[in-house]
């Protein structure tokens, strides 16, 4: 299920294509242009990645301002609109794009209660993005820390952490997620209801995905460790902590950042899969996966499936395009 996104960020130092002639030169010649500035210049030139980035920003804004959006042009996502269901046929009277358009419910309403699909899709973005972002953050924190420790210290530390990575990579995370969602009580850790389920999902998705990023960071660290500037710092008497934080980490930011943007869409899909299987956030809270799962019973009315499916598709695509562009822009070889 959750495989590390099929990224080209391998755990070797990328031996990618040679940088474009002009690009590498300014980076070295012009003093004062930071890595970030260079990357930004390159990213701006990549129209596809910028398009993805804009969609990502819009999605984040949509999630943050969901209550305001549905207040202006929507409804409470859980409110029933029985008047929109034809009692004789049990069909919604409004089901754009596969049926008549209704300006009040422009994505149509669902069955059996006639809840506004637009409002539910908007609210669904909150759960999807919140869980995906925080789970990714958790993975990155654990993965980067352990990866850099394993790579830098080597020896038995590396062995222990690497074996732990192997264990986590082999872990049947979907089965585990289903099992844990089934046994978790209503109240735990001072939380209850949706909040508890969200925290649980973040933990499950985040905690079991750190091994991928740890491998990449470890690989990068292994090669960085042998570089001259690290040797120089060490021979000047720098302690390990200083070397890791000041010498290594700035050079690891790029792969971590790239990997993060590519892990987010994978986590969005995983959250959707869990909600689809009914072990995510409990109904009636709107989630994209949950909406898809409900839509399956009404496959003759495809717009139920179309909109949440579209939302997942667009979100994942936007993150992937942006992540790809970011990787090209930050290609560590061009540092």
């Amino acid at each position: 299920m959750v495989v590390g996104p099929g990224t080209s960020v391998s755990d070797q130092v990328p031996v990618g294509r040679e940088p474009a002639e002009a690009e590498s030169a300014p980076g070295k010649v012009i003093e004062g242009r930071s890595l970030g500035r260079i990357a930004w210049t390159r990213l701006k030139r990549d129209k596809v990645a910028m398009g993805g980035g804009v969609v990502v920003i819009l999605l984040i804004l949509m999630a943050i301002f969901a209550p305001l959006i549905v207040k202006w042009i929507g409804y409470d996502p859980n409110a029933f609109h029985p008047e929109t269901i034809d009692p004789a046929t049990q069909q919604p009277t409004s089901s754009f794009p596969f049926g008549p358009f209704d300006p009040k419910h422009w994505m149509g309403v669902d069955l059996p209660f006639g809840r506004d699909i637009f409002s539910r899709v908007v609210y669904g973005s909150r759960i999807s993005l919140l869980i995906a972002f925080l789970a990714t953050l958790l993975s990155v924190l654990i993965g980067a820390t352990l990866g850099v420790i394993a790579g830098y210290f080597g020896g038995w530390v590396d062995t222990v952490i690497s074996r732990a990575m192997d264990v986590f990579l082999a872990f049947p995370i979907l089965v585990f997620a289903i099992a844990i969602a089934g046994v978790v009580p209503d109240k735990a850790f001072g939380l209850q209801g949706d909040a508890l389920r969200i925290v649980l999902l973040i933990f499950v998705i985040g905690f079991f995905n750190w091994a991928y990023i740890a491998r990449i960071v470890r690989g990068q660290t292994l090669s960085l460790r042998e570089r001259e500037f690290v040797d120089a710092a060490r021979s000047l008497g720098a302690r390990s902590g200083y070397v890791i934080l000041r010498e290594m980490l700035p050079n690891l930011i790029a792969p971590i950042l790239v990997y993060t943007t590519l892990l987010i869409p994978s986590n969005i899909l995983f959250e959707a899969a869990l909600s689809f299987l009914g072990v995510g956030v409990r109904p009636p809270t709107a989630t994209w996966g949950g909406m898809l799962s409900e839509a399956v019973h009404y496959y003759t009315t495809p717009h139920f499936m179309f909109w949440p499916g579209m939302a997942i598709f667009l979100t994942v695509l936007a993150f992937n395009l942006f992540g790809d562009g970011l990787r090209d822009a930050l290609d560590p070889k061009n540092r």
């Binding site: 409110a79 029985p82 049990q90 069955l111 059996p112 209503d186 009914g278 009636p284 019973h297 009315t301």
Partner: protein, 583 residues
Amino acid sequence: MKLKSVGVIAVSVALVAGAASCSGNNGGGGDSSSSTTKNEFNAALTKVFNPSDKKGGDMKFAISSDWDSVDPGDTYYGLSWNLARLYTRALTMFKVAPGDESSQLVGDLAQGLGQSSDGGKTWTYKLRAGLKYEDGSPITSKDVAYGVSRSLEKGVLVNGPTYFNDFLDLKGYKGPYTSKGKTNPAIETPDDTTIIFHLNKPFAGFDYFAMLPATAPVPQAKDTGAKYKQHVVSSGPYMFKTYAAGKGFTLVRNPNWDPATDPNRKALPDSYSVEIGANADDIDQRIISGGLDADIAGTGVQPAALSQVLGQPALKARADNPLAARINYTSINPQIAPLTKKDCRAAIEYAADKTAYQQAYGGPLAGGKIATGLMPPQIPGYQQLNVWPDGTDNKGDVTKAKEALAACGQPNGFATNIAYRAERPKEKAVAEALQQSLGRVGIKLTLKPFPVGDYFALYAGKPSYRNGNNLGLMVNSWGADWNDGFGFLSQIVDGRVIRDTGGSSNLSVNIPEVNNMIDQAIVEQDVNKRNADWAAIDKRVMEEAVVLPGVWASQVTLRGTRTTNVFVNQAFGMYDWTTMGIQ
């Protein structure tokens, strides 16, 4: 429809009476009041649709999930009781006729209904002459006695009802496997055609027990216990040709079934093919296209096909909308605070939006009729109740609900949980509907899904679990074992069936007064008085506000493109599988 290629001869379905009537073959609607050839919505609801006596053909049935067993002594599904009449014969059976007639009992193996003596504690049946098994050996009253005795063995045959265990005067007899060598003291067979049952308490409705498939004869030499379902020895018009557990089976004609001994069955097709485990949506589409003759689950089309069927006039003309003897309701747990107070429970009764409840099950046609009590209208003795008026439009009475909340000391509402079966999307929808409508008065519900397999055994059905986990509301559903007050209500309103170990369908009703009323109704010999007693029990239960009735279930079912003699047998709330033929 391929109707026109066949010369249609309408035959009255009142087979027992033998009254036949004829209708023209080109008139559209039949002129007989009990049959019709007009393809329209509800054509087979109270009349026989497309009557015919043409024999032959292979009837194709399918179902999406397997039922408990084809063993007549080990089955508790309505569809199975309906289907078992093809390959077994019980002592009595519901009259094979459309409309209200099908709630009457007639003799099947027995010549007629039972004769009671000893104030209803002794029941005697006389068998017909010339009855034979599929191998030609004669069926005697001892075989019927053996069939009933083996059904007592709940350790081996776990699924069937326990009425014989509860009512026969067994004197410690456990069944032929456990009490080897002993004879059942409760059943006497003085000769090969007489069988006498002795009960431990008077029971006026014993003819209903005699209708149970467990009274079908089983030859003791062929009984293999739990494995008997692999080859049930036929006493009916069809016998098993193949049987693959969980996949399906085929039935072919039983050469030793003599129509002269059986006035109730038509036995038109040459064979039946039953496919088990097909995709439910696929079944609907195959019936629509004509590849299948019926979905034997009898629970109606899936939501996806529903909008298709109701939206297209040509398909709607092939549909029927039978009312099942089933109530979809929600149990209100009076054991946990603040629902221990009657006014708090009353607030739920008032605040619930019944139209949303109905919508959760698929609207007025596929969902059912809004219920005001437990007992559905087709049960004899039914009385319209209005204990908790829910507003003029059934959307709930918010004002009265708030008054009730104030009276119970929770003017701002309270919080509790609602349990439902996770695998049932309609029950999830009910939980969501109640969450919305009770939320209007400040009653906050948290949804708690549980796996369907252990819902009664470990969760909602187990008193220690439901009380310990604050399950204030529990979505529930109940279908009649048969259409009378006892068959419908006894298992869900008798407080004595609640067991600490779990498993009972009764989740909330334990009222001493009601328990006494049940004891009185059971021994009442006068049918009309008895029916009135059960109606009074229904009302008394409603007054305690421990159940929130939702809808009396109905469903939208599709007739096949080539089936004849189709009608809804009200006893089962679905098409009668014994009379359908192929044109």
